[in-house]
Amino acid sequence: MCDTCGCSTEGGAVLRKPGQSGYHVHLEGDAEHHHHGAGHDHEHHHHEAASRKVLLEQDVLQKNNLLAERNRGYFEARNIFVLNLLSSPGSGKTTLLEKIIPVLKPFIPVAVIEGDQQTTNDALRIQALGVPVIQINTGSGCHLDAQMVKGALAELDLVDNSLLFIENVGNLVCPALFDLGEALKVVIISVTEGDDKPLKYPTMFHEANLCILNKTDLLPYVEFDPVKCRQNALRVNHHLEWLEVSAKTGEGLEEWKRWIETRLQRR
């Protein structure tokens, strides 16, 4: 049930704006499934049942992929460069955004879509930076999909020639399966997580364009070998680019900024 208006949402995603407690939009339709009443289990036992195979040969994620392509077309038409940020919960996605956005803002308009199962906490942190932000609450859903992003786009004041960050739901497993229409995927891992993570969750690292190792300020206190982690990540994806940063101390953020600038120029 929706905690704002009490309507039944059945786990459907909800859009919220930070600081506007009453505002919310239910994203329905595609994520939703309509059950049809069963009307086929009665009085036909006297008929000869004939079995027939129907070929489909359809990609299961086709619907998401088609919607993602629509989003991508929209972004390209407006020259909006989109980065999809993926990580386990707590690796530092929001903190990295808090640090990089003030650095980028003087050069290019920035906006953010925040994905979390619950709360507008992350969107409030971004709003404090003075950039447009919208929160998608996925409820029981553990990833953003292209339909949710499409809904969010309608509510977000995006300008042409800008940069959009999408912070996905903290989850290293399935957000990698769902194309949102982004230009590039950035996977974030922190030094408190274990350097074999790329081998344990290969799909995410396989799909990503850039891996950011965060919280390097904690390296003296943890058993984490950045070289080994990088090697593991490259085994999964030999095209993966690699940066090491501390969102806390700011170390390495300049390199990330340069990486973004280079990608913006290549558009």
Binding site: H33, H35, H40, H47, V54, Q58, V60, R235
Partner: protein
Amino acid sequence: MHEMSIALSIIEAIEAKAAGEGPGRVSEVELLVGRLAGIETESLSFCFEAAAKGTIAEGARLAIEEPQGVGLCSECATSFPVSFYYAECPACRSLRVQIVSGEEFKIKSFTIEEEGK
């Protein structure tokens, strides 16, 4: 649990296609789920059963074919089975390996038991 949303989208695709097929119920669904596709087939079967309740596919059997991962070395063109993305070419030890099979995730077909014939 993305297997649930995936199960729902499978049912949706079947319903859309079945709508043009006349009355009947679906008794079997054939899926192709590559070993590298990132899908837990056990969890998917479980979710499918729940998602199918009250739909045309209620009680349908899921037949899942799980093709092996196959890598192709970009250096020496050897092709070999891989069980993960971090494959190394067994011939030349190169890590420049392209995945050529194992990422499939498709609905191949479904079987309709016709009614009223």
